[in-house]
Structure formats: structure tokens, C-alpha cells
Amino acid sequence: MHGRLKVRTTAEQQEIKAKERAKKLAVYKVAMDRIFSKRKSGELDDEILKITGQVLTENPDISTLWNIRKETIVKIKNTFPDLVDNYVSKELTLTEQCIRVNPKSYNSWFHRSWVLDKGSNIDFQAEFLLCDKCLELDERNFHCWDYRRIIVQMSKTPLENELQFSTNKITKNFSNYSSWHYRSELLPRIYPSSSGDTLLDDQKLAEECNLIQNAIFTDPNDQSAWFYQRWLLFTKKESDSKENSKNSGFLSVLNDELESCQQLRDLEPNNKWVILQVCELLRRIDSLGNKKEILQLVSQLTKVDPLRRGYYAYLGSKIEEEKQKKTIPE
């Protein structure tokens, strides 16, 4: 029977791949030679942009080529300032292509933010769309988060919009350091506290505490939730006051949190995060008075989480030292 199917063997597949690689290498060498010779003779022009573009599309991580492009753009800006916008949009297209190929390429993202600075009429809407898309594909891509911070600043976008964005991300998946971290940067700027003790305004603090409790109860093994709670409750504002004003309002917040942590502890007695948080809360409420209980918890921690016994030993020794001091060093 003719037209039978035959499947290629691994050896054949490898041979084909080797041939393709050799071809690519030859092309690459020719291109690089041309680029460097042009640069040497000062020909920072369209052709050099074309060739560097071709190489970078295949491999976006060649910093030298990006820098050559930067040199070229600067030259254009100095000699033909009216044409710059045209070139800026080409750079944006190229970086976008490269980001598709490798969304974690330092060079592509950096070049993009560098280029934004050079143009005069940037479509920030499109930039946000790009960010949204990248974050949808990978919500922990820190390059993209950083880039987002840059465009927020450049476009003077109201921070409330970004807070909503962070809320949306968390609603979809609360297990994400980056979203919580973003939130922690935005909140103190939008809802600053009036008192000297906390970072956030009281009502907002209460809302966030409630939100994070949902995360903690839903999954007490999720680190990002615990770290956010620590930030909420334990971060002190910079203050020169020698007296630590133990704001009674804040103290009641801490006590409430302690209560729900204990509730969680009843359900999850061997979860190290819960135990650790109870510890930290007790410290801040009354380090001296609760010392005995805290040290008991620390020893429990060492049993439950032996990998980190060094840390717990350190914690234990710090607590032993704490005397009548009212400020808790962090």
C-alpha cells in the first residue's frame, strides 16, 4: 500500500535541527560583522537599525545591539528632531515583538521605557494594554510590573485606577505577591493615615484586614497573604517620637486580629504561618506580659518547621532580650 505513514526517528530529527542551527549561525555572523563595521565608521543609520532589528528579533538579549540602537536614536533626535516620533514608534514595535518572544528579557523592557522618554506623543492607552496582556499571561512578571509603575508615573494616571486593577487581579487569583505588593505601594498614597501610628487611614485599614483574612482562611499556606498581613499590621511609620504612642485604637485592631488568628489556629494547629503570626501579634500587643506564651510558641515552631530553626532561635533570643523597651526594633 503506497503512501504509508513513516514517523521520523530521533536521529533524523536531530540531524535536521543541527543543519538549521548551522544555517542560523552563518547568517548571524554576517550580520554582526556588518553592524560593527558600520558603527566603526559612524554610520548610525536606517540600515544599522534594520540589521540590528533582524538579529534582535531572533535573540533579544544582545545588550550591545540595543545600545547601538539607542545611540542611533539619540543621533536622530539631535539632528532631525521632527522625525524622532516615527523612530520611537518603530522601537515600540520592535520591543513588543521581542517581548512576545521572551517576556522576561531585561533589555527589551528597559529599551522600551528608555524610548518612551524620547517621544513626544505616547499612546499610554496602548502601553497599559500591553501591560495588561503580559500580566494576564504571567502575573508575576516583575519586568512588566516595573514597567507599569513607570507608565503610571509618566502618564499621571490616577492611583485609584491602579488600585482597582490590583483588586481585579486579586479577585482572580489571590496567590500573587506582586499584586499584593503593588497594592501595598498604592494604598498609603491614596489613603494616608492621619495618626502617627499606622500607615493607612483607619477605615481602609479595617477593610484591608478583612480582605486579607479571607485570603488567610481560604488558604493558610499561601505566603503572599501572610506577608501582606504583616505589612498591614506591623509596619511602622517613620517617626522620631521616643514614646511609642500605643494608640488604643490600633491596639484593638491587633487584638481582633489575634482573636481570628487563634480561631484559625484551632482549625490548623500545625500550620507554621499561623503560629508565627500569633507570636508576632502577641509581641506587639504586650511583649513583656506575653513573653512566656511567645516563647512556648517559638519552641512549637521549631518542631513544626525544623528547616527554619535557626530563624526561630534568633527570634527566641530577641524576645528574651526585650525588656521594658516600648519600641520594637524590626
Binding site: H2, L5, F174, T218, Q263, L267
Partner: protein, 494 residues
Amino acid sequence: MGEDIPSPCDLIVVGTGLVESIVASAASRIGKQVVHLDHRDFYGSSWATFSFNSLKNTLGLIDEFKEHTTQSQKEASDLNISLNSKAVCNAIEKWFILDECKTENDDSHQECEASRGKTSRITWTKSELLKNSRKFNFDLSPKLLYSRGEMVEVLINSGICRYAEFKNVSGIYTFDASEGCLLPVPCSRADVFNSKDISMVEKRLLMKVLAMCVDYENKPEEFKEYESGNFDNFLNAHKIQGKIRKYLVDSVAMANDSTNFQDAVKNVQKICAKCSAVFGGVYCLKRNTENIIIGSDGQAIGIVSDNQKLMARFILIEDCLNPLAIIKSGISRAILITDRSITNNDQVAIITVPSANGKDPVRILELSASTMACPPGLYVVHLITRQVTTAVEDLREVIDAVFCSGEKEALDKPNIIWSLHFNINEYDSPEGKLPSNVYSCPGPDLFLDFDDHVIKARNIFQSMYPGEDFLPKVPDPEDVVLEDSSEDIVQENP
């Protein structure tokens, strides 16, 4: 096409339902010569998907199917195949809208529209709907593809998933009859986190049980003491009460992660058939099968089809065609076209309506236009429950509770534009009565997933061909070389 059917062949398959189609693919895949026949003029049998018009035609056909009266070459020992079996029956259709459009100078109608605040609503008429017949895809047996289910393996290995598009179930709900409203069932982490319905402690308890169940295979020792008991004991031991218990028992005891396969559900049998054809199966529609020929040793040796004798080593038949099968139970079904979503969720929703008096729950599957089930602006709703009397009776209560059918339009309930009720019979094939080389393949069941059917197909395959691979992974097309069209020829001709 009749003259081209090879005889003898390795396997004759009568009927193009899911189980027999999977086995046909698997057999083709390992190089067996397969002949796949169906007396109908469409693939899929009780699993098929239809456009508006073809659904009506098909159900009409089934009701009027005439018994084959021509003289067939029948020996006394042969098994007569009951061709007038109606697996899908009791079809009743009802329209809820007028034939013609209301005229424009009907002021009361316009006021009504304005007061509802939906000024841009299309008023559908019968003729409009029928004109859009092709934009409807009605499944006789809609199913869900669970991402950890058996079917996923089959789809991946056979390469069928390359031709299919998938849509996620966007929401799972339970219907609270006392409140007359839908309650979203939290069953993913995100759902539980976002739910405003349950307390913190309840969230933890629910997540704990869900996580345990998901991890069941890896930690069997945690379930040892509950395994012999019932689910209730297990729930009690884990302090699951009240609302979360309702959720778990009514709606989640199915699965946590559901992938809905609506875009391609119409193509599953067709695509299975396609896969078989690529590897060498022969396909014939509109081909009747009259008898199974039994040899002197009690084994089947072939069939008589359209008066032609076709010989084969093995024979598969759909259970509704199995002459020895008896009807054991049935499924009551309804398909509705509505004008609005029950949820505010524009995708695919599963709603469970638990029954108060120990009857089976009713499952509702609502599909929006984004699943290609209907034109935009409309919704297709499937209802499924166990048959007690007829589909109309069995589903009346639920339909009345959730939808508005009739002249007075309710503000909050979706209106039914068209409905179709029908039943699907479920058959029992008595063990040991058929010859051992004849296999009866079950049709669709009450459950929303494919798992049991895939397992049954695999078992049949392994019984016929012990030791052979069941649907091994199809090679990457790029690695496939046709021996004839060699690369040398290409090089020689510049």
C-alpha cells in the same frame, strides 16, 4: 459507496454513538480494518448535535421510522436487529412567540420595552429564528469535559483536541427553591476567597474538604475510616454543616475544576470518526443493518446490511439496536431557547436544582451565544433529570420556578421562546446472552461527564485486543513522512 465496503474486515461497528466511535478509532489506530455503519443520515446517534431545522427533521424522522420490510437473508440462528428502536422519543415542541412581528404603532408594546430599560432588544419571531437555523447547535446529550477526567486523555492522544475549541464553565450555582433565587457555589480558591456568603471559618472548612478530595489518590489513608460509610459521615466528621454542606452535596460532589467543551461537543463523534478515517476506517451513513449472522459455533461471523453480507471478526452495536437489550430507565430532557441569562454571567453556567422529596436533582446547563449554541442575544438551556413519567411532567416544576413561560412576562425571569421536551431511553444489556465477539455499547446517561463511557470503550477494546495500546499518542504531523512522496523526488526536480 455500497460496493466499496471491504469484507471480510476486522471490526464492524453499527451505530456512531460515542462509545462505539471511540472503540472504532482505537481499533483503526492499531491498524485494524474497521467498517463503521449507521442507518441514520447523520453521525452521533443519541449524542448528535443539530441546527434548528435539522433537529426538527431528525426527530420527525425517528418518530416515523418504518420497519424494514424487505426480505433479508435470515437464518434461524441469526439475530434480528431492531431498527425501529427509538432511543430518543416522546418529542414535544412548543413555541412561545408569535409568527409575525408586533407592528410599530403598538404603543403599549413600546412602553413596555422602555420600562424594562432594554430599548435595543430584538423581538424574535418564529421566522427570524428559523432563518437563523444554522446558528443554533442543539446537543441531544450535552456533556462537560472535566479537566481531570478520562476524556481528556482520549482527546490529547488522538489529536482531536487540535480541531476543537473549549470553553470554561464560568459559574456553578444551586437553586434555592425557598428563596427562589440562584446561589453561586464557591468551589475554586478564587470563588471561596470572594464569596460574601460564608464566614471565615466556613471558608477554611470548605477548602480543607475540597483539598482533601482533590488529593484523594495521593493520601488514601486519610479516607480509610470513611470509605465504608457514606458521604454524610465524612462531612459530619469534618464539621461541614449548613450552607457549605448544601453546596458540597448538591453541586460540588461532581468535581472542582470543570472544562466545558461546548464549542466542539457537536464535533466529538464526527471528529472521532475523522480520526478513524485518517488511519484507514471506512464510513457509511444511511446504511441499514438487518441481522447479525451467527455461525455454527455460536460466534457472530458478520452482518447483513442492505442485503449484503459483510464478514468480520468482531461486531459492535449501539445498545438501542441490540435485539436483546431492555429499557431499564430513561432520561428526561428539555431544550429551551430563552431571551436572557438566569445568572448574570454571560458564558456557561451549571445550575443544580436539588429535589425536596428524594427525587433526583435537575441539572441545568445554560449556554450563551459565545459557545456557538445560538445567535447573539439568545440563550440555550438544557435540562436533564431522571425520567419518572415524561419529560414535560418531570421538568414542569423546575421550569415554572426558574423561567417565565406564557403571556405575563416577569421582570426577573428569563422568557422562554421555544422549548423541546424529549426522553432518551437507557438500556440494559443482559450479560452473556450475546455471542462473545459481539459487544453492545451504551448510549448517553444522566451524568454530565464522559468518564464512564471512556472507561467502557477502553474495556471493550481491551477485551477484543488484549495487550494492545488504547489510543497511543498520535505522532506530530511534522514527523510523519509519506513513503511514496520521497524527498529525493523533490530534490531531483529543480
